[in-house]
């Protein structure tokens, strides 16, 4: 049975059908890509899977459990971590606080611990702090851990988002354009981080990308989306040579 299964999911904004009968199956440990031109509905699919929108039709099943329509924080706690396309960091918080906060659902000391600063809390927070620094080392920004995120350059902010998502220990990681706005050097580093994370933590990864090079390099399977429909699905080679994909990206040659 696949780790994440989406069956015939559709979503409408008013009368506009943003996602139409979308199907997906991701096996544990797989890296999958989702590509498509602007406005194709890629981010909407992420928002549907993570519960920010509720699908009009269809089912989402994670690890045998139906998660359709649950609140986002419950879905996240079941094991879906994500990053955001346009950096949604908490602007007054430091880097290490971001990573620690994503452990929220696993904090075991409760309100008594929070109000009275019990020993149990101090021990747990120390453990979480250590784990946070390990993750920050993995993405290469541990030296910035006490900086407020708004002081960081763009590429490092993306790494914070990555570390924050990993801190939830997700079963599947959803990356929404992890290399958007990066220069070539940062791009290579980010791809290296994604590979490393996948190798060391072994979770499944589902990523949206604009740059074909990134998906072609990283993913085993790719879906192409246009106007809410999946128009092609296959290995990078198959996708690269599929005429429908080329049409969607470059436009059809005019006959006039």
């Amino acid at each position: 049975m696949p780790l994440l299964q989406v069956e015939k999911m559709s979503h409408e904004f008013g009368g506009l059908r943003a996602v139409n009968s979308y199907n997906l199956e991701i096996e544990a440990g797989q890296i999958r890509g989702l590509i498509g031109p602007n406005g194709a509905g890629k981010t909407t699919i992420f928002n549907l899977i993570t519960g920010i929108y509720k699908p009009t039709e269809g089912d989402i099943i994670l690890d045998g459990k139906k998660i359709t329509g649950l609140q986002p924080h419950r879905i996240a706690a079941f094991g879906i971590g994500r990053t955001f396309q346009n950096l949604q960091l908490w602007r007054h918080m430091t880097v290490v606080e971001h990573v620690k906060l994503a452990r929220y659902s696993r904090v075991g000391y409760g309100l008594i611990g929070a109000f009275f600063g019990t020993m149990k809390r101090q021990k747990q927070e120390a453990d979480i702090e250590e784990m946070a620094h390990n993750l920050l080392k993995m993405v290469g920004i541990d030296h910035l851990s006490d900086q407020v995120v708004t002081n960081l350059p763009y590429g490092d902010q993306r790494r914070v988002e990555m570390a924050r998502a990993l801190s939830m220990e997700p079963k599947i990681l959803l990356l929404d354009e992890p290399t958007a706005g990066m220069n070539p050097e940062e791009l290579i580093q980010m791809m290296e981080i994604i590979r490393r994370v996948h190798k060391e933590l072994g979770m499944a990864i589902f990523l949206i990308e604009h740059r074909l090079k990134v998906v072609m390099d990283l993913c085993q399977m790719i879906q192409t989306l246009n106007f809410g429909h999946v128009i092609a699905e296959g290995t990078p080679e198959e996708i690269q040579n599929n005429p429908k994909v080329i049409d969607a990206y470059l436009g059809r040659e005019s006959l006039v």
Partner: protein, 416 residues
Amino acid sequence: MLSRRIWDSFFRVPLLGWLIGILIAVMLEHLLGDSLVDVLGLSKIPALFGFVIILKNPILMPGATLYVLLIYIIPVSAVARISSWPANKLAARLLDFPIWFSVVIHLGLFYAALHMWSEISAYRLLTLKLTLIAIMVTLSLNVVNGYMGEFSCSHPGFMALGAYAASVVTVVLFVNDRLFGPALLAPAFGPFIFPVALVTGGMVAALGALAIAIPSFRTRGDYLAIISLAFMFIIKSMIENLEVVGGPRGLSSQPDYANLPIVFFWTIACIWMTNNFVRSILGKALNAVRDDEMAANAMTVNTRRTKIIAFLFAAFWAGVAGGLFAHVLRYVNPATFGLQKLAEVLAMVYFGGLNSVYGSIVGAVSLSLLGEALRPLEIFKWIIIPLLLILVMIYRPTGLVAFKELNVRNLVKPKQ
């Protein structure tokens, strides 16, 4: 060059040194205050650092200034500077023990200084108690308006609930009262039951908060501001119409349980608990909700639960503060908990600084003292204080000491 070095040397004085300095200055006032007043031609010991005297009678300005200089500024700085080296050694030694030990010693010194300072006059004592209560109210409102970034207007309502609930408990149990009949328990139990009465006040306020929280935390936006404002007026008019507790005439004859040590204790408890809360992961979730609620939700934070907990927590402490307030004044009436109180508390929060325990303390203390010190100016007081607020809003939009974490270990550690 030399002045620069002297100035810098004061930054190496640990908190312990300053506290010893303050304590000695206050002792000096006890010993020499009255005779110095005679020499300087003042009528009595200046209650609030001479401001009131200067504003009432500007001719006495040199005398009052000299008094403050001789009794406070010179002794405090001299003792702090001289004791700097031994105080640093002592502070370092204290840190060999568990942290609470050092904290208790610092608080003990601080309390001793406050106690002696307030013994000089009843006016000082009252001002001090009300200032401590203002700290509690400001800090609890800061949890909602600062840390969580919502805008709540219901704090006077919570104070009223706490004040009335706590008063009813103590008056019913320990006072032969016109409204509630003879006392039910011997007065000897009073001081032991008083904490229970305060916690009851806090709980009632938290219950009231639940009524606001359930409808208004489904989404973000201005709902909370409007609903909480309405709540404040509802509570006020509800009490005005409750003849059982005296209606608009108010409720009086609360027993005299709120002495300085009790008020001090509860204020410290409030600061300690709030600081624990906002520094925990559960408390940091408030900041996450404020800065980006969608991201917080996607990172497993149960945002609705987080908001409700913080709101009830804030209401609880406002209720406790209200209970103390009623027992300090030994009289409450519903008119106290209206728009003016709201403006006062909001001003303290935004003046002192959002998202900061230090900020709430600074805001509450400075505006309470300023309010008292400028009292002789009468109507002009209400021009000067708002003007100050506007200036702060222009030059430091988030308040004087915003976004600064209170780290107790850093506070009590040696500076050398």
